[in-house]
Symmetry: C2
């Protein structure tokens, strides 16, 4: 409980800054908020506020010590602790996520995948075991899992969500393109690829930027 609560919109930008800082750490022992803002073409008041939320103020003239700032951002983003998670639904998207190696940078450890398909269960995908749904409860409770990833088809998503919550899950990363009903205190983060596609498609059809009608 020693992490500060950081506003959601700030939190979403921090991984971008962190990536950048890691790329320049060799050459820049110090960095100012203005330099970070310039690198991304962002407003420097915004960047100063974002970095301040994670780290406190930079020093006048020298700015932030780059290594210290990286450390503080990693702390804020939970990169320095390991969050164990389970993934339900080992279809194409599930397989993709299991094989994606970027999550470990953010402290995410997918310990197992679950599926109803008996041709998949018992196999390994990118070194992770695929287990039958019947094992979900015992794994979640014994390993004290609090984060679940849902990559099942829409028709199964709510039922999987309900099961996960009954087994102690408090945060859900939902890739099924539907709205999940959850009790208060459970957080759902939706990753809806179809929504992004809809926005891109309208832009191309209209031949102009839709920001003009952003609500």
């Amino acid at each position: 409980m020693d992490r500060k609560m950081i506003p959601i919109q700030t939190l979403r930008r921090l991984p971008v800054y962190l990536h950048y800082l890691k790329s320049i750490r060799q050459n820049c022992p110090n960095i100012s908020a203005t330099a970070v803002a310039d690198a991304f073409g962002l407003n420097d008041v915004q960047v100063r506020k974002d970095l301040g939320a994670a780290s406190g103020s930079g020093r006048p003239k020298t700015g932030y010590n780059t290594e210290e700032l990286i450390e503080q951002l990693e702390e804020c983003l939970g990169c320095r602790s390991v969050t164990k998670t389970v993934l339900v639904g080992a279809g194409n998207l599930g397989k993709a996520l299991l094989s994606y190696d970027g999550f470990s940078d953010y402290g995410l450890d997918v310990i197992a995948a679950f599926d109803t398909d008996s041709t998949l269960t018992g196999t390994l995908i990118s070194g992770k075991p695929v287990l039958p749904m019947e094992d979900l409860e015992v794994v979640c409770t014994e390993k004290k899992i609090h984060l679940g990833i849902i990559t099942v088809p829409v028709a199964a998503a709510q039922s999987v969500c309900d099961q996960l919550i009954s087994f102690g899950i408090r945060a859900i990363w939902n890739f099924a393109p539907t709205i999940l009903k959850v009790p208060k205190g459970v957080l759902v983060e939706n990753e809806n690829l179809a929504s992004s596609l809809a926005v891109l498609s309208q832009h191309l059809q209209a031949g102009r930027a839709p920001e003009a009608i952003e609500q």
Copy 2:
């Protein structure tokens, strides 16, 4: 140019309604905005407005004809036309997207992937050819591609983005966790998995829902 411009936030919700309507089309010839709202636990004023933007008003008492509404949503979302696209970066995430079969529902056709890795070029991933970067220009211009998907590492993302734009791309779906600089008129839709993870991680660490401090 016969598609209406729909506000972005509405557009993001339409694929969810569409999925639901398809699931109930056999049993429900008519459906009201209220029934859709109830199915997702959403506010019915919101849903009425969203459906109205895509389709016009439902009829009093009977609501919408389900098949007509599906057709109109598909029209709005560009599902009924094919958008050809190229993907740059055939690493884990790129492979995952190439093998994901949900995109064709939304009219997306990835015609080829591009990579600098000569052990990948010349191969097929899920039936799609992986081509060397040198071929990017000729494919984009000859096939009149306007949408590009970026799944390269951060360090290469801006350079790939610049190339795509110079070859005629007007909309970019960016999976690299960085902010791309683009000229006016080009739309970037960012899919930053690390940002979602940061939000979920904070929720778990804090033991309470971060909505309380949503800005």
